[in-house]
Symmetry: C2
Subunit: 314 residues, 2 copies
């Protein structure tokens, strides 16, 4: 029996037909064009649902459920997206709208970061565990919590905003309006800011760094420089890793999950990032020294497919 | 049908016979004398279990379960206290020991802060909710998480160390070995430290504060001074409330629980503390402005009985 997972982003709509083993059989996408009416976006989601089925030679009536991963606050009880800063949704009943357009009755809605965490839990880095947390290090810092195999998002479906844990009281401004949030220190955006600040510092002091010649500053600039032995690159990387480790240690102390999986652009640094983080986390986490079992930190495995696979598993 | 709740502390053992409505029918206690052998401590627990039953004219065989709330890492799956810094327990099978001494087969073990959170959830400030968090503001900052009516403590039973979320990266040293933990800013111990620092600051600057004449500095000194209009007292109180609000906002953003209940010595400040916290939390929490339902912060209701009532409800 197949399920459909919809990963609805601010840029693209990706729809996958997912089999009973959490594998994507067919995947198709269209641009979201987020400035459109909500109903027009849902019409394109329905179109993609028909297409992935047609490609596999089945009918939509053969599909068990459709799960939608949406940015913002998605109420899994009502099927309503209450609010999203990236889409024109305000208390929009996306489940009913898609049900009408597809004829599929069983439609689930969830926040995209939560759905991705479920994807990694059923088929990725946290496969085989009941309790895990996924952290996405991208434009922001996203979080998804899996407890007893299910997404936890609080009584109002707005929980797991793990990027908005203040780790520096009164620190740098965050996009959410607070100061000192983890997101403001551990997102790719924060890494780029730290890189630019360091380049400016070196420039003003008349010191040399390969980063002064970088044509464009991105999340890899400091990491690449560090690997060539560049001191400024190392300073940025060490500072970034220090904050990331502090935030991850917080997550360990709060949840003691079996696995924390790291996704998003920064996680492309791979095992070397884990190797840099683990000594800091192990030396500071609660229970180190007297617990037999400690949380493992792993790179997420499903990449951009986590949302589709998680949505299908809702 | 009665249950027994045991609140095992570093100073006292308190045992209560609890009825089906989560009310304590009989309560008795003995000093823990924590330097003793573990078995001697359990013998006193068993003695108190017999006594609370005798007082009610029932037999221990009429008791459905005994729940034990212990400091440290208590494994609810195995009945073993793996580690406690306040008691001589190291991988001690307290459940088997108490079973042998009482003849009661159904014995549950849980961390004391987690048990207190369950107590508040079944019979106190969070009664009627499925998802709540209890924060204890005492010598340290303790946390207990209730999800779907059950205690959540991670895969290794060491979770919910909410006091050990770093909220000031590289900040003041915490008893756990990290720097900048919430506990180091929001415990009664931290409030006393802030009070002493402020008094010293005023003394050095030759400024006047009623706190200079306080015979003994405790967690109420700054609050009492503030209420008389003392500027130094207000500065301490405002700083303390600012950190406490930041930590509580973190808890809201992580869990979006229906209720956060505040226990421990500092919570004796009561509603005036809530009134000082709420504007700061509401203005900074994720979802403020577009969520219909927001977490309520309440003073815990059960006081020292929360551990007994929670243990009985395990």
């Amino acid at each position: 029996m197949y399920k459909i997972g919809v990963d609805l982003g601010g840029t693209n709509i990706a729809v996958g037909l997912v089999d009973g083993e959490h594998r994507i059989a067919v995947k198709k996408s269209l641009p979201t064009m987020a400035q459109r009416e909500a109903e027009a976006i849902v019409a394109d989601i329905a179109k993609l649902c028909f297409e992935v089925c047609a490609d596999k030679g089945i009918s939509l009536s053969d599909v068990e459920t459709i799960g939608i991963a949406s940015p913002g606050i998605a109420n899994h009880n009502t099927g309503i997206v209450q609010y999203s800063c990236n889409l024109p949704f305000k208390n929009f009943d996306i489940a009913s709208s898609l049900k009408e357009k597809t004829g599929v009755n069983n439609i689930k809605v969830e926040n995209d970061a939560n759905a991705a965490a479920l994807g990694e839990a059923v088929a990725g880095a946290a496969k085989g565990t009941l309790n895990s947390v996924m952290i996405t290090l991208g434009t922001g810092v996203g979080g998804g919590i899996i407890i007893d195999g299910k997404i936890y998002s609080g009584f109002n479906c707005a929980g797991a905003e793990l990027g908005h844990i203040v780790i520096e009281h009164g620190g740098v401004p965050c996009s959410c309006g607070r100061r000192g949030c983890w997101e403001a220190y551990s997102s790719a955006t924060a890494l780029i800011r730290m890189t630019k600040e360091k380049i400016e510092e070196y420039r003003q002091k008349g010191l040399s760094t390969v980063m002064l010649d970088a044509p464009k500053i991105n999340g890899r600039t400091a990491c690449d420089a560090m690997r060539t032995g560049d001191e400024a690159g190392k300073e940025v990387y060490d500072r970034y890793v220090s904050y990331l480790a502090a935030g991850l240690t917080n997550i360990v102390n709060i949840f003691q999950p079996e696995v924390i999986s790291l996704g998003g652009g920064v996680s492309n640094e791979g095992q070397s990032l884990i190797d840099a983080l683990m000594p800091l986390i192990r030396s500071e986490q609660y229970g180190h020294g007297f617990l037999d079992e400690l949380t493992e930190i792993r790179i997420a495995e499903l990449g951009n497919d986590a949302g589709i696979i998680g949505a299908a598993a809702l």
